[in-house]
Symmetry: C2
Subunit: 518 residues, 2 copies
């Protein structure tokens, strides 16, 4: 008797406990250091519609402009040709200024890591996954949810260093046990000593940025001029939607542009709250704000490397709660990708969820975010691992769930062979009618690397899984992150460099550090 | 101070407990009865490669052919012009015969439901979601995992009837408490009386199919000739890969084709087990087997409606366990969609996972399956709701998780407006710098239907969610399925029809029913 599909008893008869090759199979090499997306990006707008949205954003910047709270930034805008009203702090930019800025913004560049093998190409079809950045809280299934600490921050750096599919570091979680005037240095020190991947820095005022840049120069052994010549670090600039740029964000744009470091300019536009209730309206507003930030950076230094950031989602109109990984989020991602490509900039998206736990909702909302961003052609995926609770917590278990999902996506992007040998007519002839392919020559030649080997997914049959504790994916993830942290080993670092870093921090600490700009 | 993205404290200040419009907002109307996919399907093969795979499958059918265990089916093949070797039971088909069959297979048709508003268009960009079909076991978080019963089967029909996004019924779960010689009639009766959506039937031999067709004719009030003129029901034909067609499957093809009912011909090809270890090899084999089945159906009745089914995944090469929702599964879906479009047939895919529980793994594997199938252009998504454990169980909670994910996908397919009013420049001017859009006119006009309103996702803040029991998505799904079953009401059915159905079943029961063909 044949039933539908896999419920067929025949399948079970065909499913051996082990293959002929079972015990010999080594784990598959996880070569995820460089991921390239082979697919044509999906589109929700026609070319004309993309041009019309861009034009509407230009009109917005010409007529309404944007409020800029930083006087030095307004001065830069004025020097660059913008119309500045000091009484209202409003800056208006005509379309010629935007066109001029876009003409000097590079479409591609490369992040330089302490380990050159971990350099990250940006733009084109290249794809970079960066872990979660910014949550104040940490959660795990053992200890629950609490304020983030330096230990958590360092654990997340260790996890980020341990998986090839994460290409840069990120803000991970806020180490709230470190005083705010020293925190920026400790976060930078941890990244530089625990990892050799490209680090992240907050833009919390010029004083902190100066400290962090100096630490980077020490680590890389470069002087200020060499530092300016190559991107070594990135920050995120969030505008205060709608149409407002605050002081630390403006300082971040100026300081990073001057230093030739990477700005991810990301208006955070929640449709129905800080942005229009329509996806297209939220994207129009976000596009205008991004263009204003890009213009400032290019006025400071033509050619400053920038990633066009989008973070458009919607709120629950019943409660006002922000939502992520929604259908609207995926569609906004498709549209934002089109706008980024229209102005020829690398594009940043995010792996987001509103779920309060690393559960099925977290997984399906993250998948909606991932597919939306990746099918939309994202180059830089922020919050790729660990984000939960709308960004208010980092979850250790979600980190592992995300790494599994990122590796799966990286595998989807691997090409499929379509030569005669891939079609396998000889193997089919060898096996014959109703036979099996477990031990045929075609299989034996390829089985070791034929398929993705999972980190987290459990494919054992129900009885085996159940007898082994019936552990859910979230429970298994708890084991994996703890084992990964325990197994971590630091990359080599010249003791003289460590000494110089520590000496710099000791001196700056004695000088009072640098409180965040507000 | 501005931090990255949503962790910004500013966001929280902007997040009100309720919007101006909170209490007035009605739940969004869920108009998911007809879903159309607006996106260009993704491709993993070039046009030349698709043609080459098709050609390889034709070569396979000409040279090696397929073993056909049913003598009447071999006779049909011989009458249709195939080369039949009775000694080996092997049927060889030359490419002209396949071309002739494909010339008469319709590219589009319509399923007719008891409620004409629930008719299902098939082909083109139309998309149909069908619930899980076939698992022998049922599981829920209250009672655990056990053999399926008629009560479970009927509960799943009630759930399927309750959600617009499910467009047909399915085998749901095997009602193992009904004797096998009567089970086909009870399953059909339950579908016809508890729902007015298009039903599903197994192909377990001609005797059972005759009974089920008669029940359908009674329900629809049509005679045999009228019945033959329109598709009312569908079945799944699984070949015994590699290259074997068994007796009940062959009888199913013949009986359904003669009656003009819909065959979903689906080789179940697990790469590395019953199919070559390469995705392209597994698809080549599956394509050949599907073509052989399509040819038989068209020899029986030119124009018989067929859906090209694909179910290509891979096994874990270490254990031999089948895996679903893998990267290979998604890529195979993209490729199968290309093959279906090449021969101009509607295409069936599946929402599959190997997870043993309705957990995060179940969600992310299902999402990989869904995006793979839907971005690949699937027309018919079988196992769309409820499948877990590689098809050996149906999970009530997974059913709800899946319905949420299907609704989200249906929303992704809704068009995005890009008129001037969607760009919202006037609203942006009204709100001003740093303001919010909660109460502006543009929002008030649109908020009721602006966004997807979730069935399962919980977007409340952590404190509210935690104080309310900190229930995971899986725990919430348990409440939702039970409430939905409790709230279900049956569609109206003419008492005379019910009487006739029951009279028929009573007579056939007295005659001994019909044991399944093996």
């Amino acid at each position: 008797m044949t039933q539908d599909d896999s419920a067929s008893p025949r399948r079970n008869r065909r499913r051996p406990g082990t293959t002929a090759a079972a015990d010999m199979a080594p784990p598959r090499s996880l070569a995820y250091r460089h991921v390239v997306n082979p697919f044509e990006p999906l589109r929700i707008y026609s070319d004309d519609q993309v041009a019309a949205i861009h034009d509407a954003a230009l009109t917005l910047l010409e007529n309404q402009g944007t409020k800029v709270l930083s006087a030095p930034a307004r001065l830069r805008y004025a020097q660059g040709g913008a119309e500045v009203d000091e009484a209202t702090q409003v800056v208006r930019l005509d379309r010629a200024l935007i066109a001029k800025a876009l003409a000097t913004t590079p479409s591609e560049f490369t992040f330089h890591a302490l380990n050159p093998e971990l350099n990250v190409p940006m733009g084109g079809r290249h794809l970079c996954f960066a872990p979660t950045s910014g949550p104040p809280n940490i959660m795990d299934t053992v200890h629950g949810r609490r304020a983030g600490t330096l230990e958590d921050f360092q654990n997340l750096i260790k996890l980020s260093q341990s998986f090839d599919v994460l290409h840069t570091l990120g803000g991970a979680v806020e180490p709230q046990d470190v005083p705010v005037h020293l925190r920026h240095m400790e976060m930078t020190r941890s990244q530089l000593l625990l990892s050799d991947k490209v680090p992240f820095m907050y833009s919390r005022g010029s004083a902190q940025i100066r400290d962090c840049f100096e630490l980077l120069r020490i680590a890389h052994g470069v002087d200020a001029e060499q530092f300016r010549a190559r991107p070594y670090v990135w920050t995120v600039i969030n505008t205060n939607s709608p149409l407002q740029l605050d002081i630390p964000m403006a300082e971040g744009i100026i300081d990073f542009a001057e230093a030739g470091q990477v700005l991810i300019i990301t208006p955070f536009t929640l449709a129905g709250a800080m942005a229009p209730v329509t996806i297209t309206g939220a994207l129009t507003l976000a596009h205008a704000e991004a263009l204003a930030g890009i213009a400032l950076a290019q006025m400071v230094r033509p050619g400053a490397p920038i990633i066009y950031g989008s973070f458009t989602s919607n709120v629950d109109m019943k409660s006002g709660s922000p939502a992520f990984g929604t259908p609207e989020y995926a569609k906004a991602a498709f549209g934002a990708g089109q706008l980024a490509r229209y102005i020829k900039l690398p594009w940043r998206s995010s792996n987001a969820t509103a779920s309060n736990a690393p559960d099925a909702q977290a997984a399906y909302e993250a998948q909606m975010s991932l597919w939306g961003a990746l099918m939309g052609g994202a180059n830089f995926m922020l919050h790729a691992a660990g984000w939960v609770e709308g960004g208010l917590s980092t979850s250790y278990e979600k980190f592992i769930i995300d790494v599994e999902m990122l590796q799966m996506m990286a595998e989807v992007f691997q090409p499929v062979g379509a030569e005669a040998s891939d079609m396998a007519l000889e193997a089919i002839a060898e096996v014959g009618y109703g036979g099996h392919f477990f031990a045929c020559a075609h299989t034996m030649e390829r089985y070791r690397t034929a398929f993705y080997s999972p980190l987290l997914s459990d494919w054992r049959n129900y009885g085996t899984w159940s007898n082994d504790g019936a552990r859910t994916a979230t429970e298994r993830a708890a084991t994996i992150w703890q084992e990964t942290v325990a197994r971590y080993s630091a990359p080599p670092r010249d003791p003289a460099v460590v000494e110089a870093i520590d000496a710099f921090i000791a001196r700056r600490t004695a000088e009072g550090g640098a409180p965040p700009q507000t």
